[in-house]
Each structure stands twice: as C-alpha cells, then as structure tokens.
C-alpha cells in the first residue's frame, strides 16, 4: 500500500498517513465554519474508536493518533469517509470573550506588513480586525493557543518567511487566513498586529486552557499606536 491512503484534490477528503501511528483527515474545500463543525463531529465520533489514543483537530482537518499502527489504514480511511459523509455538523454554544487589544507599537510591529499586503491604511486594517467575531476552531501549536476563524479575507496575510525569534505571549497575530493570540513567548512566523494581557494557559487551572473549541471572541481597541 502507498503511504498516501488517499490524496485527492477534488471534492473528496484527503487522507494520509503521518508515520505508522498517525493519520490525517483533511476536509475538501474552503475554511468555513460549516466544515469545521463537521470536523468537530468527526472528532466526537472518532473518540469512540478503541484504536484511537489522541485526536488533534486542526483547521478543517483532524489528526488521529493510534495506540498501535492500524492493521488496515484503508479500513480506517473508509470509516472516516463514511462518517464525514453522514454525520451532521456539531454546533457548540461557546462562551463570548471580549478582548481589549493594544494595536500597533513594538508588540504589533508587523502591522505595516499586513497593511502593505492588504493595500489598506493601518486604521482600516485595525477596524476590519476588530469588526469581526471570531470562533475558536481548534486549540494547538502551543499550550492553550486557539486558531480563530472569522478573519476578513481583506487582511489575510501569509506567514513570514523569517519568523520572529522572541514574540511575546499575548501578541495578537495573523497567519494566512487564520487569526490568533500567541500563547507563549518564543519563535513565531505569524504577523503581529497588537497585544493583549490575557493568559491563555495555566497548568494548575481547571481546565488549563482558557479557550475551548466553539468559544467566540470579539476584539476591541484599547489603544492604537502607529
């Protein structure tokens, strides 16, 4: 069997093995909330499988980590395809977080690059950014980091070729079509546009992550420094 269980660019999901104990399911089509809700439904269904040890929902994709290499990856892929085709979307009534942002300045130094990419003045990029409501699609990359859906395509900006080496935790960022708030201080390839004091993760808190999948976020400008 090939390592790629199925890799199709058409309307069918793409399913591939990542090593011998992980399988990636990628939804076809655009990054929409409808697709993400179907990923959440798939995640719930996959949780009941005895061979699944961990599930990592991504952005319109889902990684399954098995406790042992599957006897037949094809059979698992077939099960996933069937579940994807038949499961209803999973709607989550998340909490609403209203988050104050200090836009621009040293901690939002990529605001200029976002403006240049969007061809818009900074005031407009900022107002577009806090004009949307975002949904937490997935948690990952760093402890408590939430991938946010809802970024206006006008300010979508590709990840940087050279990552920042020491981006502060709490930096408000844009990476491609994705929005977020950095959870840890460290290297980061997304574009920084502002900063918030929020602490996204505390191992001694229950639950440790502030955001959960399905939560909604509204940003508002606390200050703007251009």
């Amino acid at each position: 069997m090939k390592n790629d269980v199925e890799r199709d660019t058409g309307a069918a999901p793409a399913i591939s093995m990542i090593g011998t104990r992980a399988m990636l399911f990628e939804a076809p089509g655009d990054f929409t909330m409808a697709h993400q809700r179907r990923i959440w439904a798939l995640m719930d269904a996959a949780r009941a499988r005895p061979d699944v040890r961990e599930l990592i929902p991504g952005v319109t994709n889902l990684m399954l980590v098995f406790s042992a290499p599957p006897a037949s990856p094809e059979a698992v892929a077939e099960w996933l395809r069937h579940a994807w085709d038949t499961l209803p979307e999973r709607h989550i009534e998340g909490r609403l977080f209203e988050i104050g942002v200090r836009y621009g300045g040293a901690l939002g130094e990529d605001l200029a690059a976002v403006c240049a990419h969007a061809g818009l003045p900074p005031q407009e990029v900022i107002s577009i950014h806090h004009g949307s409501e975002y949904t937490v699609c997935a948690i990952g990359s760093a402890p408590g980091f939430g991938y946010l859906h809802g970024l206006d395509p006008r300010i979508a900006t590709p990840r940087k070729t050279v990552p920042s080496l020491n981006m502060q935790a709490g930096t408000v960022i844009i990476g491609g079509m994705q929005a977020g708030i950095s959870a840890l201080t460290g290297p980061n390839g997304w574009n920084s546009i502002g900063y918030t004091e929020l602490r996204l993760f505390d191992p001694d808190r229950q639950p440790p992550a502030l955001f959960a999948v399905g939560d909604r976020i509204r940003f508002y400008p606390e200050s703007i420094e251009l």
């Binding site: 790629d4 093995m17 990542i18 319109t60 990359s141 402890p143 991938y147 491609g176 390839g189 191992p203």
Partner: protein
C-alpha cells in the same frame, strides 16, 4: 534524595511523555530517546514510565543522599562514582553520600540517569516530564541547576552488576550499522510529498543532510540543498507528531521531535519512522543523516526488532534478579 552538584543548560527530568493533552496544545515532551529510558527502567525493575534525568550537556555531577541502584543509558561516556569507573548500560549501587559524575559522551548525545523507583517530581497533566516551552512539569518546569534536590522513593538497592547491550550494537538499520558521522533513518512519504518538485523528491533521499546547531528537543534543523515546492502553498494548521519532516519556505527541512508543537503549518514531505527516532535523539550536531524511503508495512515491521530487544532484556533481567535473590536468600516477593 539526589542533589545536583554540577550541570549546564538543558538537563531536565523526563519520563515517556505526556499524551492526552495535544488537543489543548500541550505537546507530549518526554525523553528524546524512549528506548534508552525503557532499558534503564527495565534494568532497575521500575515501571516503564518512571522518570529519569535526561542529560544533553556535560559534565554533570550529582550526589546520592540515600542509597540507591542506578544506571546511565543512552550514551558511552566516562562515568564515575566517587572516582571509580562505572560502565554505561550497567546497574550499579551507590551508598548514601556518593557522587556520580558523567563526562561528555564518546558515543551518542543524550544520557539518561535512571534510579530505582524513578525521580519523584509532581505529576502535572499526567506526566513528570518537563515542558520547557510551557514552563511546567519536571522540576518547576525548568532545566536542572546546581543545588537542586530531587526526591527518590525507590526501595533500598537490590542487585547490581548486570546490564544491557546498547541498542546500537543490537539493532541494525536499513543500511547496516550507523557510524558516528552518518546515521541512516527510514522515513515514509507524508501528506505534501507530491507538492514538491521531482528534483526535490529525489534530493530528499539522496542528500546527506547535516544536523545544524539550530537543533534542540523541539526539532532538528537540517542543512543541504533546499527542497523546492512546485508552487508556493499556504497550508491550514494541522496536527504534528514526532518524526514529521517539515519544509519551511527556505527549503531546508526540520524534523520535529519530543518537544514539537502539537500543530504546524509547513509542508510535510516525510516522517521518520518511530522505530528510528531514538537514533536521531542520539545524533549530535554536525552529524549527517541519510533518509531511506520505506512503506507503511516496512515502518510497522521495523518496530519488531526494537520490541524483541526490550522483551529479551525484560526476560533476562527477571531471571537474573530472581536468581540473585535466591543466592542471597531473599524470598521472592520481598521488596528488598
């Protein structure tokens, strides 16, 4: 108790890792070389997941404040207990007050100091492993420093003077034995393999990639002629496991390892199979690695000799400990 006398950056407490929290963005952490920790724990009659001290920088010295059996695995190095030479991969017994010193490795990169009963740090989110990025687990979520003390709760020493053959002498690679300059690793093609140019696909397998100094427990950055995509892509963030080989825009691959992020966004060209990850953990900066393409079935089959090695060791240790107990008149079932 153990007191750390001498250490430098990045030596930490680790166990087999912290599964189950990836969906909160918490990576698994755990030892870079899970085989070396398992050997240490088997030799000592520990639980498979008991915690150890992972050494990445040397020299390292500690004092055992209580008698314990211990073993240093993972590397070949000058190891001394109060100045007397101790062999790696061999169980030894220390009396209270004795000092252990581990010098720089002659072979391998990461050393594991295992003690009877394991290192007792608090369990955070299901594991004793240090999560350096998150700043939790292990000893206050940080590397060890001189003057630190670690609890050990194991029973008083039992038997010692026996050991294991290092995995490098037992387990062949696809290309025979590794040497210290070139390490052979098997890898499966991954999700985005087809997005790379045919030249890049060819080059992945034919290049001797060198491990750069920008390498750590998160991942190894490799250098060689860059791998090009057919066209630039912006991928949606997806789950990451150790072994995954990502290619950032500059074209030089990164192999994600124990402290990898749970989610990433760069194109994935291949995955180093689980059976060979310990070899990578023991590869030093500057070492070259050669990737060999393998199928899913070959990747699964490659775990068999690894598991057989551990099973044989488990059996040998059980026999040896039982017979040693009989010799000394200790009834089996007695804890001491």
């Amino acid at each position: 108790m153990i007191t750390i006398l001498e250490t430098s950056a990045l030596n930490t407490v680790q166990d087999l890792g912290r599964p189950g929290y990836r969906d909160l963005g918490v990576g698994t952490s755990g030892v870079m070389d899970p085989l070396a920790l398992q050997v240490g724990n088997i030799l000592l009659g520990n639980e498979v997941d008991d915690a150890c001290i992972e050494l990445q920088t040397y020299p390292f010295a500690l004092r055992f404040d209580a008698a314990t059996s211990f073993v240093v695995t993972g590397i070949d190095a000058v190891i001394e207990l109060d100045g007397l030479t101790i062999l790696p991969w061999m169980v030894a017994t220390a009396a209270a007050g004795q000092e252990l010193r581990v010098g720089p490795p002659r072979k391998g990169a990461r050393g594991y100091i295992c003690v009877t009963g394991g290192i007792e740090v608090p369990v955070v989110l299901g594991s004793r492993s240090t999560q350096l990025r998150g700043g939790f687990g292990g000893l206050d979520g940080r590397p060890l420093e001189a003057g630190d003390t670690l609890e050990i709760t194991g029973a008083p020493p039992e038997v010692s003077g026996y050991g294991a053959l290092p995995p490098t002498t037992v387990l062949d690679t696809v290309a025979g034995q590794d040497d210290s300059k070139l390490i052979h690793l098997r890898a499966m093609t991954a999700t985005d393999y087809g997005l790379f140019t045919p030249e890049a696909q060819e080059r992945l397998w034919n290049t001797q990639w060198r491990i750069t100094p920008q390498s750590n427990r998160v991942g190894y950055r490799l250098t060689g002629e860059p791998l090009e995509l057919r066209h630039r892509v912006e991928l949606r963030s997806y789950g990451v496991v150790a072994g995954i080989v990502q290619v950032p825009p500059a074209g030089e691959p990164i192999v994600q390892l124990a402290d990898a992020n749970t989610v990433g966004g760069y194109p994935r060209i291949a995955t180093v199979i689980e059976a060979d990850l310990w070899r990578l953990a023991q590869a030093r900066i500057g070492t070259r690695i050669q990737l060999h393409e393998c199928s899913f079935e070959q990747g699964v089959a490659a775990m068999r000799p690894v598991n057989a090695y551990l099973d044989d060791l488990r059996m040998m240790v059980a026999h040896y400990r039982a017979s040693a107990r009989r010799r000394t008149g200790v009834k089996s079932g007695d804890k001491a």
